[in-house]
Each structure stands twice: as C-alpha cells, then as structure tokens.
C-alpha cells in the first residue's frame, strides 16, 4: 500500500509538473484559447470513540478523503483527470474506497456537428429513468461510464447520442457492458421558419439502453442481455409546463428483486403553472421493479445505470431532514403537490419586501404484489396493477413562511408533519427502528444583520415524536463578522429519549475562512448523519465524534 501510494503520488506529481510547464509554454507561444483549471477538496477527521451515539472505535484514529480535478481546454479540445485518495475512507462511506489513484480521465473533441468523448463519461438520457451517469463527491457516488460517446446535431433541433462502456466501481470497472442510444427532437427548432416563434414549445425524445453480462449461474438461466427503452415529452406554453417520461425494462433477475423474471417499468410526470408571485407544481410517479445495474449482483448505490428521482421535498434544515426519504427502486407510487406565493411588497401582509409562503404535500406508497411461478416452477414472477396501492411508506406536509422585515431582520418559519415507514429506514440508515414514525417539526430561522457584511443567525428547531428516539430540540448560532469568516455553535438535544442515559447533547462548534474560491473549515464535536448546511454551504455528513477539517479550492 505504502509503495503504491508513493508511486501514484509521484506519478500525479510528474503529471502536474508536465502540464504546468506545458501550460506556461502554451500561454506565451500561442494566442489561442488555452487553459488549465481544476479544483480539489480534502476532508480529514480525527475520531473519538463514542458508543452512546454509535460512533465506533476507529483503529487508524484519523481518516481522510481527498480528490483533485484538473482540466485542460484548447479550442474544441478538452481533457481532464481526477485523482482520489482514501487513507482510509472516512466513516459512513463504503470501505471499498481504499487507497488512491487516478479514477477518471477523458479527452473530448467538440464541434457543432460532432462531439466525441473517450474515457470517463457523465451523461443522462431525458430525466435519467433509463440512463444517468453522475458524480457526487459528498456521497462518493460515481457511476461514470468508461468508454466512448458520440453526440451529433445533424440539423437544427435534432440531437443524437450513442455510447458504450463499462461503469466505474470503486477503483475498477464493473463486469457488465452498457450501451445506449438517445434521440431528441425540438419540434420548434426543427421547423425553424414556421414554428420558432410559436408560443407552444414541444420536445420529444426516445432512448434504448442495453446491458450485457455473462450468465455464470449453474441453476438459473439468466438473460445475458437486458434491454430498456422508453420515451419522453415536454410541452411548454406560457406559464404551463409539462414533462413526462416512461421507461420499460425487460426481465432482469437481480439481487435487488430477489431474482424475479418480471419486467420493470417507470413513469415520472412533472407539471406546473407559474406566473409572477404564484406557482403550482404537481408531480407523480410510479416505479415497478426498476433496479437497473450493470452487474445483476450489485447493490446499494453501486453500478446503477439509471436514476429514479424521488418525488418528495429535499429538506435542508436538520430536523425535517432527520428521517430522509429515498426512492424505493423495487416499487413505489407517489407524488407531490406544491403551491408557492409571494404576497407583494407594500401591502399590509407583504410589508416592505413581500412575504413568501410555500405549502407542500408529498406521499409515497408501496405497490401491491401477487407472486407466482411459471409452469415449470423454475422462474419467479409477480404481478402488480396500476390501480392497486400497498401500505404507506411516507408522507410529508409542510408550510414555510419567509419574510424580510427590514434591512436588518429576516426570518423563516416552518411547520412540518411527517410519516415514515421503518422499512425505508432499514435501507438508508443503520438505526434500528421499532415502528412507523409520526413526527411534528417546527423551525424558526432568524437573521440579524447588524452592519454591512456582518450578521448573526439563530436557528431553533424541534422534532416531536412518540416513536424511535423521541423528541429533539436543536439550536444553532452562526456569526459571520465579515464575508471571510464564520463561527457557529450547534446543539442537538435528544431530551425526549425513552432511555434516560441516551438523553444526550450533540454539541458541535465550527469555524471557517473563505477567500475567493478557496475555503477552509474546522469543526469539533458530535455529528449525526444528514444534510448539513452551515457557513453558506450544504454538505452530506456522516455520524461521528471528533475533530474535522475540510479544505476546498477551485482554480
């Protein structure tokens, strides 16, 4: 490990050195656009064992995650690499991220007619129900396609895409081959003279994605090629928006679905009406057996080919995000309705700056399944019906009022009611839950700007439930004396826990410094898992107790 680290760091060093020299030469020699850019992030944490909050003993004492991207652009050509290092990977991430190396490299030539990329590719077809490769360093989610992609615009309004490759899996690639084609037509641009100024905009698209993986199972006869196809439609007229996508997947026995031979399907619809000061959004979806991975035995977030978006609100305050919802890829039906309005300024309710109000309700339920076997009783199936709904997974209702009172004061107040099924929790958190959870949540977030560029923010939150760990109270004070510095103190108090010795305070102090595109922050204390927003940036943070440091930089 030690030797390989030195080798690869030395390799990176030389790569940087050569690129740097090349860059300086190129800049003086040529007027042509020529640039090198990049970013990096280093996170390190020193861990204290804390059995009460469930923070385990960390034998290495300190763990760190780091990455750096370097991109080179010259005219129609671009290229990039990413180096990642986990020594060892931080708590809360998959331990298969071990060691370091160059995990992403690509070269691309882009022209109006032709756009070719070789190497690691991120792309999505439509909404992603059939294909999406994506990178999210905060979650260590990276399913990039290592292969070849060609994009062409043969005429105005038409985009054609084709790609083939294997997906990244930690420091290697998965077994299966993924190939896909996608076409999209913007009707208004296609018939430019007649329709380009037409009020109604129409875009249609269709995709076919297939994966190939050898069947090594001695008992089952598993399909080696699995196809997935579907179409999408977007219609926009004035304030009205409609977008829908449907996907059908052929039989694909996998670890996720218990090796069932049933087909899969997914439908996602989003429609809205919006005008100045008012909007209404309605989303619906149904997912049935839509786990689509380039390795049939993969699980969790590994080697997913597609993306199945959740139709619930992504909360950023700690307490409403305490029981987070994740799409059930084996099957769910759900939707969301949201109404937003802004009471105009200079009215009695609107005050000097206006008042913003959001009402949101989202819901998700299981599907009803009827299992059966084929005539030879060798293969397992089940059936579902579009009009039959299973038990409740989740609901979330909230109302949010945001208001700026005057130049110094502003606030956000929120009430939220949630229902959470323990089966969901089993999938996405390690907490052992004893039943369904019903909770009421309140948030009050007040900002006081005491002079230009200096502010104090107080955030108080309460979560009230009779189940799981009981009631929580949270308070945070954040002080930003100037735009460079912030200091924050957070306490989360589980005062309602039914076990007396678990009525704990989760105390966390943090501070940070930002200059331009560079940022450093440190924190000390106990952290629970969740989306954590402080000092103006939101990140996903795993549960822990200790001292953490984070450095990010873009250049």
């Amino acid at each position: 490990m030690q030797v390989s680290f030195l080798k690869s760091s030395a390799a990176t060093f030389f790569f940087l050195f050569i690129l740097n020299a090349f860059n300086s030469v190129a800049q003086t020699a040529s007027e042509e656009l020529n640039s090198v850019h990049g970013n990096f992030q280093i996170d390190a944490q020193y861990y204290n064992e804390d059995s009460l909050i469930g923070a385990p003993k960390v034998p290495e004492k300190m763990l760190s995650n780091a990455f750096g991207n370097i991109m080179y652009n010259k005219g129609k050509f671009s290229a990039g690499i990413r180096y990642e290092a986990y020594n060892n990977v931080m708590q809360g991430f998959n331990p298969s991220y071990k060691g370091q190396g160059i995990v992403n490299r690509f070269a691309r030539y882009q022209d109006k007619l032709l756009d070719v990329t070789v190497g690691n590719i991120y792309d999505q077809f439509g909404m992603g129900l059939m294909f999406r490769t994506y990178y999210e360093p905060g979650l260590l989610y990276d399913n990039s396609l290592d292969g070849v992609r060609v994009i062409s615009n043969p005429r105005n309004g038409i985009t054609l895409k084709g790609l083939v490759g294997k997906q990244r899996s930690f420091f290697t690639v998965g077994q299966g081959i993924v190939r896909g084609v996608d076409g999209e037509v913007n009707i208004n641009e296609l018939f430019d003279s007649a329709l380009v100024n037409m009020k109604t905009k129409i875009i249609i698209g269709g995709s076919f994605v297939s994966k190939n993986q050898t069947d090594n199972d001695p008992k089952l006869l598993q399909p080696e090629n699995v196809g997935c196809y579907g179409g999408r439609l977007t219609v926009i007229n004035g304030g009205f928006n409609f977008s829908g996508e449907y996907a059908y997947k052929m039989n694909d026995p996998s670890f996720d679905n218990g090796y069932s031979y049933k087909f899969g399907e997914a439908l996602f619809i989003s429609s809205s009406y919006a005008t100045k000061g008012f909007s209404f959004l309605l989303q619906g979806k149904r997912i049935d057996n839509m786990s689509f991975r380039s390795d049939r035995d993969a699980n969790i977030q590994n080697l997913l080919i597609n993306y199945l978006p959740a139709t619930t609100k992504q909360h950023t305050y700690l307490m409403p995000a305490y029981y987070p919802y994740a799409t059930q890829i084996n099957g769910e039906i759900g939707g969301m309705a949201e109404m937003q309005f802004k009471i105009p300024k200079d009215t009695w309710l609107g005050g000097k700056y206006g008042t913003e109000i959001t009402l949101n309700y989202s819901h998700a339920s299981d599907l009803k399944r009827k299992p059966f076997n084929d005539s030879l009783a060798e293969r397992f199936f089940y059936s579902t019906a579009w009009d039959q709904i299973g038990r409740n997974f989740y609901h979330d209702f909230f109302v949010d009022i945001s208001k700026k009172i005057n130049k110094r004061w502003k606030f956000t107040a929120m009430y939220c009611n949630q229902f959470y099924d323990k089966a969901l929790a089993a999938q996405i958190t390690s907490t052992k839950l004893t039943g369904n959870i019903e909770s009421h949540i309140g948030v009050l977030d007040i900002t006081y700007k005491y002079k230009t560029g200096s502010a104090i923010r107080l955030e108080t939150q309460g979560l009230f439930t009779k189940q799981d760990k009981g009631d929580w109270a949270t308070a945070m004070i954040e002080w930003t004396p100037s735009s460079h510095w912030f200091v924050a103190v957070l306490d989360q108090y589980n005062y309602g826990n039914s076990v007396e010795k678990l009525r704990l305070h989760y105390f966390l102090a943090s501070a940070g410094y930002t200059k331009d595109a560079h940022r450093i922050s440190i924190s000390y204390g106990k952290q629970r898992a969740g989306v954590f927003c402080v000092g103006g940036v939101c990140r996903n943070v795993p549960a822990s107790n200790g001292l953490a440091i984070s450095i990010t930089s873009t250049f």
Partner: protein, 171 residues
Amino acid sequence: MKKLIILLSSVVLLASFVLSGDGDKIPSAVVKKLDGSKVNTSTFSNNGKPIIISFWATWCKPCKKELDAIAEDYDTWVKETGVKLIAISIDDARSSGKVVTDVKTKGWAYDVYIDENQDFKRAMNVNNVPFTFIVDGNGKIVYSHNSYSEGDEEKLYEAVKKIASGEKAAH
C-alpha cells in the same frame, strides 16, 4: 515524510495554476433554457458588458438568499453597469421541475438555465453551491467566489463595477 513532501510540492504546483489560469474563457457545456431548448455555455455573451454566473439549486438556502438579495437591486446594477446575471441551477430530475416555479414566484429577472447532470458545474470546477463567477466584457472569467454570507452581494457589485470600468477586480 516522503508522502508529505510529495503532497506539498503537488499543492505548490497546483497553486501555480491559480496564477496562470486567471482570465480564461467560459468552457463549453450544454445547458437547458426554461423553454426546454439547449444552449452551449461558450456562447454566453453580453455585448461587451460583464456577466455574473451564479450556480444555485432549489434546495440550497444560502443560494436563494444571495439571489434574493441581488434581485432587490438588480435593476440598478443593470442600469449602472449593463451587467447580466446568469443563474445556473444544478437541480437534477428530482427538483428541476421546481426551478421554473421558484424563479417565477420570486419574480427573478435573471437568465436562468438548468445544468441537470452538472456538466457545466464540472467544467467550471465548482465544488459546492453557491458559487459565483464574473466574466468581463471580453468573455474572460476574472472573479470567482464560493459560499454566501450576508452582505456578499455588495462586494460582488463592487467587483462588477470595477470590471465594467475596465479595472482589475480586487477580490
């Protein structure tokens, strides 16, 4: 110790890019307009006037605070400097439907685009949102800033004014 030396020298080399990389053009990526049509980011222009490029998301509270704060004075900014703000949403399919409802309800007068699979975000090497750039009248990126705290919009505008009058922006 060796590890440390290599790490430090790499950091020094990386830092030297910072000096050489200033003043580059907007890289090429395809983003979606709110009417569904696709636009290449390398074609962003504002007739020789500066452009603010602001990366945000519907789920990012500080991003929306920043854009709300700018919206209060945006008319004046445009009148005084001719600046244009391009707001790039990095919402994926889960929340990209909310971009248009948020923008219209708030009445933001910005040019809004959706970077649904974050191609532009990656091309601009953005780590976290909010992230703000200023592009000068010659199409060169001359200023970048991560995060938002109260009053940052005033500093941003100071930089815009300097850039609009041809001075170099002091961060």
